[in-house]
């Protein structure tokens, strides 16, 4: 009897037959109704906000509010303050969270639970309570600086950033990647920068987007710390001209969305290209 050598097995390990299910027309109608109601609830306020931004007091379509934004008193100061805070927050967050998450995933998987716990605390602790404590505990020189807000925003963004990094790290075979790089002579910094980070690109992107959105929209802490960031300015300016306030709010909203869409689609086309490349080779 000859031994049977399963030469072919490795060719056939992946099942590619698509799992398909029957579709019930009932389900489709039901889905359409749900999506319609959800669409209306989520889109009408956006439409209303946009409409209000492009209206003058008489209720006629007008670009005056949008045009007036840059020249309104205090706007550009508030805008640039928000931008600076966003950049500082983002840099701090990534420098703090990326090496830590990678290290824990790689060397101390048991610490993941601890990290899970710590990074969920900012959700448990309401921003309003946190800023209450921060304003009481922070030294005076720090309280005098707007960057105190950045330091706190890092804490606020931890849940989102850690969770997307954690998901990204779980999705790749980090251990093998790192061991491969190390065995090929890469040092830790090289490995982190050239092997881990590129493989975490989507996770990093979503962490970035979430952090930026958080900082640019944060109102509670900024208003209580008495810094006129963009959201605080919008709120205050409402008394002067609600159309302009709404216009700024909608522009910042649309801007954030465009940014997200842009980053996500860039990432997608890049990964698609990468996939095509691996397929060709």
């Amino acid at each position: 009897m000859a031994a049977l050598i399963p030469d072919v097995v490795e060719d056939a390990l992946v099942i590619v037959e698509p799992p398909s299910r029957r579709r019930w027309p009932r389900l489709r109608v039901w889905r359409a109704v749900v999506l319609f109601i959800a669409g209306a609830y989520f889109l009408i306020p956006i439409y209303a906000g946009l409409r209000f931004s492009f209206e003058n007091d008489a209720g006629h379509l007008s670009l005056y509010a949008v045009k007036a934004i840059p020249s309104e008193p205090g706007f550009s100061a508030a805008f640039w303050l928000s931008m600076r805070l966003a950049v500082v927050t983002l840099a701090l967050t990534l420098v703090l969270m990326v090496p830590t998450s990678v290290y824990v995933h790689l060397k101390f998987p048991r610490l993941r639970r601890l990290l899970d716990f710590v990074t969920i605390l900012p959700i448990v602790i309401p921003p309003i309570v946190l800023i209450l404590g921060v304003l009481r505990a922070a030294p005076l020189w720090l309280r005098a600086s707007p960057y105190l807000l950045s330091l706190v925003y890092v804490i606020l963004s931890m849940p989102f950033v850690y969770r997307s990094l954690d998901a990204g790290l779980s999705a790749i075979d980090l251990k093998t990647l790192v061991e491969a790089s190390r065995s090929l002579g890469g040092n830790w910094l090289n490995t982190l920068w050239r092997v881990v980070v590129p493989n975490l690109r989507s996770a990093l992107l979503s962490a970035t987007v979430l952090t930026l959105a958080l900082v640019l929209g944060e109102f509670t802490m900024a208003s209580l710390d008495l810094w006129t960031t963009l959201p605080v300015w919008i709120y205050q300016f409402q008394q002067v001209d609600a159309h302009v306030s709404t216009a700024v709010s909608m522009v910042s909203l649309v801007g954030t969305w465009l940014l997200i869409t842009l980053i996500v689609s860039l990432d997608r086309s890049q990964s698609r290209r990468a996939r095509r490349r691996t397929k060709n080779s």
């Binding site: 306020p45 610490l111 900012p122 921003p127 209450l132 959105a213 709404t246």
Partner: protein, 316 residues
Amino acid sequence: MTSATSDDPSSVSGPGATAPAAGGADVAVRRRRRSLGRALAPVAAMAPFSIYSFLGLGVPILAVIYYAFQSEQGKPTLSNLALVTHGSYLLGFENSIVLALITSIVPGILGLILAYAIATSRSTLLKRLVATASGVLANFGGINLTFMFIATLGSTGILTAWLSAIHLNPWNFGFNLYSFYGVVLVYLYFQVPLMVLVITPALGGLRPSWREAAENMGASSWRYWRYVGIPVLMPSVLGGMLLLFGSGFAAYATAETLTAGTVTLAPIQIGSLLAGNQLAGQENVGYAVGLGMFVVLALTMILYGLVRRRASKWLR
């Protein structure tokens, strides 16, 4: 190797003789250094995160707890706590809990339905769109949201205008956007997407083979849900609702900007106290309210941790 060097007299006293010893010592030192490094590496690697978290989270929380038990004169006291468990502060807590309950259960159910509608759809475009939109909307709140809703359902809002055109102006039926129920309506706008975000992975964790196995053994669609689908999803749904509870309970910006601080909610009371609206002798009462909020949320999250543990076992 050794014999080769000893054959050559010139090299005997040279590096050939000393190299092994020196090399050995070198290796030993390096090994010791490495083992020390290995022991310290985790500490060093975790230090930045740990220190930052302690300073940014631990210290402020400890400060809140500490000052909740301090009188203005710096003496330990329970009077702050006594104050917040009575009267208007108690009402603030009650209202906040009711608000959080409503805005966790209702959006919890709506979000589940929406997430299921999307998860069972085949359109990847729709899935992507909703995933992105949910991510954006779940973190949405505060001033932008307030303005959008004022433009929609404020007394001169667009939807108000549409509805009054068919004689259904909600303001004529007792609706007031700048009230407690206005806040509920607005909170749905970020709570539903948050639920969608939280529950979608759980829906994805429902394996098609469970459904097929159930069907195979004679279960109707309804009985599959009754015995498998709903029980399996239950921990995740509860977990999601607890998260919504926390988010609804803690939210400040939306309620503050929408009602200009006129609804009695615990976070708004803190904000008002922090802004200097406090009676003499009650300067530390804000910390007691903060402590109260912290306790409610800590309980919520302990529950959340428990149900999540079960969910992660089931939906791997």
